[in-house]
Symmetry: C2
Subunit: 432 residues, 2 copies
Amino acid sequence: MFNVLKGTHDVILDEARQYSYVEELLTKVASLYNYKEFRTPIIESSDLFLRSVGEGSDIVRKEMYTFYDKGDRLITLRPEMTAGTIRSMVNNKLFANQDFPIKAFYVGPNFRYERPQQGRYRQFNQFGIECCGVNSPYRDAEVISLGYNALKMLGFSNLKLKINYLGDEESRSKYRDALRDYFGNKIDEMCDDCKERFNKNVLRILDCKVPHDIEIVKDAPRIRDYLSENSKKYFSSILEFLDRIGVEYELDDNLVRGLDYYTGVVFEYHYVSNLGKNYGALGGGGHYSNLINEIGGPNLEGVGLAFGIERLVSVMQDDNLFDDLKSNLDVYIMPLGEKVLESANSLANFLRLNGFSTDICLENKNMSQMFKKAERRNASFAVIIGEDELNNDCIILKNLHTKEQIQVNNEDLLDKLDELFDEEEHHHHEEN
Amino acid sequence: MFNVLKGTHDVILDEARQYSYVEELLTKVASLYNYKEFRTPIIESSDLFLRSVGEGSDIVRKEMYTFYDKGDRLITLRPEMTAGTIRSMVNNKLFANQDFPIKAFYVGPNFRYERPQQGRYRQFNQFGIECCGVNSPYRDAEVISLGYNALKMLGFSNLKLKINYLGDEESRSKYRDALRDYFGNKIDEMCDDCKERFNKNVLRILDCKVPHDIEIVKDAPRIRDYLSENSKKYFSSILEFLDRIGVEYELDDNLVRGLDYYTGVVFEYHYVSNLGKNYGALGGGGHYSNLINEIGGPNLEGVGLAFGIERLVSVMQDDNLFDDLKSNLDVYIMPLGEKVLESANSLANFLRLNGFSTDICLENKNMSQMFKKAERRNASFAVIIGEDELNNDCIILKNLHTKEQIQVNNEDLLDKLDELFDEEEHHHHEEN
């Protein structure tokens, strides 16, 4: 017996349908905003992530799947998809044609060797977007609104956007100095991660989850007091637009996000269910000023966001947001005896080619067993074929919800099914 | 500048749409046959593939991406998806409930360290199905017909199914003896791969592509002369059903496929374009008697098939089967001046929430530049907003195909767009 690797998991049957439902809806919303899909490789040169994600980040320091391939290249299973997406824009010369923004969405698996815990997997799926080549508060707001609207459409009603502004280079530089001053005589009593962050990216200390450090962070200088006039104006344009389109937000001075490359606005979508359960962050993103350039592109800016699909699905499961998503089957064919098998199979083929999802019992079961199989497959109709029906070019059609059954000539079957499904549809609408 | 790894490639923009179109159609056909999605991890214990794919196969011998993770586990990037799919059926106890067949489909990336060549990638996507827990010529035929119908729906018109039957254990054992007798005094002059195959899986010699070896293979004993009565009957049931549903096939004695685990029927779909170009095999599959058991499941049989997505897309590109697939945009919003930006953005948000794919120019371009941007985005309508329109609660709506433009009050815009898109749709149908 073989097992899945620790920290990985199978997603099968109805749960796979939940995953594809979430991915399809996110993809559809991205298309409404005119984002196009980018599918970049899962394996990349390790350099790409060292440079872009940041050597000081936890991801690069502890969590990457990195190894030598048979050609002695140091390769990494991507831990996130922003770096590869921007690399592909550079390699495919999309910055050359000067038609901005370049709007990319992506969806697919990522890999981080994290300590396995509830809802955290070593292989996990992300959906995200990158809007590249522009620097405009309206583009930032557009990206934020895309994520917000997508979550609303998935059924998350009480969303709270947490938002912060890390400022332009000038503001950030002054703020970093202030943080170093503040933490300078306190860093010795803080955690090892913070000690490292103090040197590599002092902003990340604000993100620390250690209770003792949180107390120290509480009185740290706040970025908003260090923003330049330009930064203040830019940030308030974003907020005004969010007000205008009805996105509720909350300023959060300590929000910095886990990646080193964010510069301007950063944000997270937090969710509290109708029952009052606080699920925390469902995803987030931010603005980056230097990343495109660091990956070999021109000196242009961008903004992006990402959602963890595992996270969305698990919250939606827990909060019963998948209620209406039931896999079903249009027709289940029940052949009575060997002699009718070939006709029954041909009928299955015919119905499938005409757009009806169809399954058939070929395992020589009795009627009652076959009805159980139809029920487990959540079939709407049963088609029963015995020798009598075979000889008379007809079948028995049974509605598995109402239990009504009628005899239908083979040549009338398609029309009859169309008619019955229209009625079911109509009935379904009236019920809702 | 960072580059993709040798043998990998970016799939972006319109080409990504071609990939998702192919994957969505295959997924839809699988659903018509009542197959359910299985998403298994990309990383698995290496053992799984050593056992299932076969230690004698080229894949395991030369092509696997295998490495130790940080926990010293020997892991492999999956080279194919049948093994993982069946492993997931075993681990998730799907064989325990005795409701057969278990019908799985999968779609996703696989990894093989192959010599890069035209159309062959080290990371490549496969779609496939597995029908597990049954042994019936009709199930085999159902799987074959699924692949055949899916390819037809993708637009492949001249399909030729190549089919062979490797026989039950008894037939295959006799046939292997006959092959060893035949090749015994010829193997010294054959290629190194054949020498290895002679010991590990003599059937695979029939698959050799070396011209000198092909000559020798020509006169080798044929499996059809070694089939038991049961095997003959089973195979002819498959063929009869294929005849009945109009699948054209061709018997091919040398077809064995590249995986060691096939036992009964094996098949490939070959395609010759209307222009007479022979594209060779688009995909294929076969029946397996021992694989489920070897992966830790009960002693039950299965049948499956797989398509390479890269292969399908590249043939469809070459044969112009994507003609109708053009990405487009419903509305492109052109704001004239800073003052209208916020209203224009709100309008974009409003249209998106109402299901119209919408983009907006925020980059301060002049009219002619904005019309070029709209054209590059293949937009159907432009919405123009200047200060006059802002003050009068209206916009200018321009049909970018007919060049007609009208003034529309904000409150009437949705109705007007619905009406115009209905007309476009109608017009489009009349043209075709």
